[in-house]
């Protein structure tokens, strides 16, 4: 039993065979292999099937609003930089409802890991298109097939010079675990977009389809070359898996917070400095 397993049976709401089970395993394995103390690990999620993942781990969690994983995750890290913060949600939550926060979280660069279950469909609401749904995919709402260009989170993240961008496939648990470990240990915002088969609402992008349409980047690939990374992110044909881009040495959001420069204590350990306050009040007398 790992540190993040419960000592009792739990009722999981996912369909049998769902890619989310594989991701749950990879996340727990990554945390165990990194020997992270569960008292210091906080999961933040939004709404959707992916967003339920933290329910099934023995860790702290903040399961907030649809699309709003990244603002609270950023704030939790900023309020107590000693915590390990993992924002975990689906493609609809992160790239659709939360698209604006996705862009600005990358710009802010908090030291958090952002795991996105990308199944190219809305499952919890029964099969409508997501921002990453492939063109032509027929749904109960997009009845003539999706016409819009799918959102490319990897290319967008590289365009925003994100500090860590990776893609994984849920079917390969070992590789996914390794990528998540790299993302967690990376200092700065780390995106891990994980292809996740949805066995109920996506009969096109199946385990087999993902296997046929992906390949793993080999050791000769240099993830620090931004232009090469952008080419990889946008090249037609098969999708590359692995760490696609790393920008090292980028200051984090917490690094930029002036209050921690003199005093590293997290916010909960602080009290009102009466002398400073009295001084501020008295400065209004002159």
């Amino acid at each position: 039993m790992g540190a993040y397993d419960f000592d009792h049976a739990i009722d999981i709401a996912w369909c049998p065979g769902c890619g989310d089970f594989r991701i749950l395993t990879s996340v727990k394995d990554a945390l165990d292999e990194l020997e992270l103390d569960p008292r210091t690990v906080v999961f933040v999620s939004g709404i959707g099937q992916a967003a339920k993942t933290p329910q099934y781990l023995n860790a702290h969690y903040f399961n907030g609003l649809h699309g709003r994983t990244l603002p609270p995750a950023t704030a939790i890290k900023a309020s107590n930089p000693g915590l390990v913060v993992i924002a975990q949600s689906g493609d609809g939550d992160t790239y659709g409802e939360g698209g604006n926060h996705f862009m600005h979280a990358i710009r802010r660069n908090p030291d958090i890991t952002n795991i996105v279950h990308n199944n190219m469909v809305y499952a919890l609401t029964k099969g409508q298109a997501s921002p990453t749904t492939r063109q032509g995919f027929v749904t109960p709402v997009q009845i003539h097939g999706v016409t819009q260009e799918p959102f490319n989170p990897v290319a967008v993240a590289i365009a925003l010079d994100a500090s860590f961008v990776a893609r994984a496939f849920a079917g390969d648990t070992r590789q996914t675990t390794d990528i998540i470990k790299k993302a967690i240990t990376h200092k700065g915002y780390a995106l891990v977009d994980i292809f996740q088969p949805c066995v109920t609402y996506n009969k096109v992008n199946t385990y087999g389809w993902f296997k046929q349409n992906t390949y793993t980047l080999d050791d000769s690939y240099d993830p620090t070359d931004r232009e090469a990374a952008f080419r990889k992110a946008t090249e037609p044909g098969k999708f590359p898996l692995g760490v696609i881009y790393i920008k090292t040495g980028k200051p984090t959001f917490e690094d930029g917070l002036s209050l921690y420069r003199q005093d590293a204590r997290p916010l909960y350990q602080r009290t009102v400095d009466m002398e400073t306050l009295r001084g501020l009040v008295d400065s209004l007398r002159t």
């Binding site: 933040v44 609270p72 704030a75 107590n80 400095d273 007398r285």
Partner: protein, 581 residues
């Protein structure tokens, strides 16, 4: 006497955006206060960066003054169109001072007292038109018998960033104005008859922004996330300036949705967070409010009201978001709404908001408005006796349950990283551990838990304040920033059978409300909105209606004259006997 002998003089200067009226306002109020006068100032301005017409009222007085008046005793036009919007406020008792070019013909008919001073010409002689404001400052310093050294000190303090040459020219310009003011008086003639008080010199001179900001620091605020929106932005700027010295995380977010979700995230991790916004921005935060309600997160929302709907009048004032603050957020949960009336309350109530939010794990509003935030006046002190020292966070044990059911509805609040337990919060309905549940009896228990906290909040309600006789015949009810206009308006009316009941907490409604209202023969409500929102709240809570309402929603602040005339009309003749019948 240049001015009618009065205890207070209302000065209005009127110019364009970009003419430096704000600097003049700061210099003049500081200088007058430092020389012992009670001062008040408020600027009304258009939503533009250059041009248009803006004006600032500065009241100088023997006693404390805190309201914006229609009456103008001294009008200073600083631009060609400066008088256009003031025809109904300039009377034959208003002294007009300034450049001949800026005074409209109609006021040169011999029936209006005019003091012509070529302010711009003097400014040009002293180095350029930019010195016009300090020439005017010098003239006013002279008319109000301000010591010239004191005037110089203030100019040095406020304009120190200009560099030595321009500072020197400003000082010269003020000296020239000061000299000219003496020539405006006939031999032996005095300009004003306002008494000065030594104690006032060292009093606090503040606007509402500083009062709310300092109250936040006093309440232990450590996190502010917001998106700029008039008139709430000043509070964000306040915290930005204090971030390093007072230990506050301050972030300008991509939108108000992010702001509120960050604030809730910070509370979850042990921060004490505030968002500052106005109606439109708050509209975007509403789902977050409901989140705070569901996960029982503390949250402090400073809602600086301005006239809506939609973009409305961005730079003007109104009290029309009370019902919005009260009913916003889907689902049912407890909340509290504070509405400070004075700057002392701006400080104490913001501090109190952090206490209530933390103790009851609910959203708490500080409902202000543009007038409240931007008017400034002097006051003796801020009450620093009840500081934030109570901590409501617990160190968790391994068996910690975030939503443990209790008698009061309040569960001990743990945070991640402090103790052995897991802290799970969920926007889905959840059980005592914080796990998602669809168990109907748990659901019912959780709704009851969230609503039960209202009775605790009710026990701690800040009581409304009664001003005037206990045995009143008429009762005038007001809330938030309307207090001072109502007080001064009633003074003008001079009725001793009428009292004022002012609410600085509007929700939960104080239980004494019905008692106060039932004792009154006539009940009048005064509010800066069109639909008497507070009266509706009182009626829904007590079943008691009002006999009349004085409502203002033009975008300008409520004035004592509005209240005096309104009450005069609504109260009718004073009865020979007053009090309870």
């Amino acid at each position: 006497m240049v001015f009618k002998p009065r205890e207070d003089i209302s000065i209005v200067f009127s110019g364009q955006a970009g003419q430096g009226l704000q600097t003049l306002e700061a210099l003049l109020t500081r200088m007058l206060k430092r020389s012992g006068y009670n001062v008040f100032s408020y600027s009304e301005y258009m939503s533009r960066i250059r041009g248009g017409n803006n004006s600032t009222q500065v009241r100088v007085s023997s006693r404390r003054v805190t309201a914006y008046t229609r009456r103008i005793d001294l009008f200073v036009p600083l631009h060609e169109n400066a008088m256009e919007r003031f025809h109904d406020r300039i009377t034959q008792e208003t002294v007009i001072l300034g450049d001949r070019d800026f005074i409209e013909e109609r006021y040169l008919d011999g029936h209006h007292p005019v003091l012509e001073v070529p302010i711009n010409e003097i400014a040009r002689e002293k180095g350029g038109a930019v010195y016009a404001n300090t020439v005017l400052l010098g003239i006013l310093a002279g008319l109000f018998y301000v010591d010239s050294d004191l005037m110089h000190n203030e100019i040095r303090m406020i304009l120190s960033g200009l560099g030595e040459d321009r500072l020197r020219k400003n000082l010269d310009a003020s000296d020239e104005g000061y000299e000219r003011s003496k020539k405006l008086l006939k031999p032996g003639q005095a300009a004003v008859s306002i008494e000065r008080t030594a104690e006032v010199r060292d009093e606090i001179l503040t606007d509402g922004i500083n009062a709310v900001g300092l109250g936040g620091l006093a309440g232990g605020c450590t996190f502010v996330s917001s998106y700029p929106m008039s008139p709430s932005t000043g509070v964000l700027v306040f915290f930005t300036k204090k971030a390093e010295s007072s230990g506050v995380v301050v972030e300008q977010t991509e939108d108000e949705i992010s702001a509120v979700n960050m604030a809730i995230g910070s509370w979850y991790a042990g921060g004490r967070a505030l968002v500052t916004t106005s109606g439109g921005g708050y509209a975007l935060m509403v789902e977050g409010l409901s989140l705070a309600g569901c996960i029982e997160s503390p949250l402090v929302i400073h809602l600086g009201q301005r006239p809506g709907p939609a973009t409305g009048l961005p730079t003007r004032t109104e009290q029309a978001d009370l019902q919005f603050a009260l009913y916003s957020g889907h689902g049912e949960f407890s909340r509290a709404i504070l509405a400070p009336g004075t700057h002392e309350q701006g400080f104490s109530h913001t501090r109190h908001a952090f206490y209530l939010a933390d103790k009851y794990q609910v959203p708490v509003f500080i409902l202000t408005d543009q007038f409240f935030l931007e008017r400034r006046y002097n006051l003796p002190d801020l009450d620093m006796s009840k500081m934030y020292d109570q901590r409501f966070i617990v160190q968790t044990r391994a068996d910690y349950r975030r939503y443990a059911l209790t008698e009061s509805g309040i569960s001990p609040r743990g945070i991640p990283g402090f103790g052995e337990g897991r802290v799970r919060v969920d926007s889905d309905e959840h059980d005592e551990d914080g796990f998602i549940t669809e168990d109907f009896s748990t659901r019912t228990a959780m709704v009851n838990k969230r609503l039960k906290k209202l009775s605790g909040l009710q026990k701690e309600v800040l009581a409304p304040q009664l001003f005037g006789p206990d045995d009143y015949r008429n009762l005038v009810v007001c809330w938030g920033s309307s207090l001072h206009a109502v007080q001064e308006g009633l003074d003008m009316l001079g009725r001793d059978d009428t009292a004022i009941l002012h609410y600085s907490q509007v929700y939960p409604l104080a239980e004494v409300t019905a008692d106060y209202l039932e004792r009154a023969h006539r009940k009048i409500v005064v509010e800066s909105n069109a639909t008497a929102q507070f009266a509706r709240l009182i009626r829904s809570e007590t079943g008691i209606g009002f006999d009349g309402a004085i409502l203002k929603y033009s975008g300008l602040p409520l004035m004592p004259e509005d209240v005096c005339e309104g009450l005069n009309e609504k109260l009718g003749k004073k009865e020979s006997t007053h009090g309870r019948v």
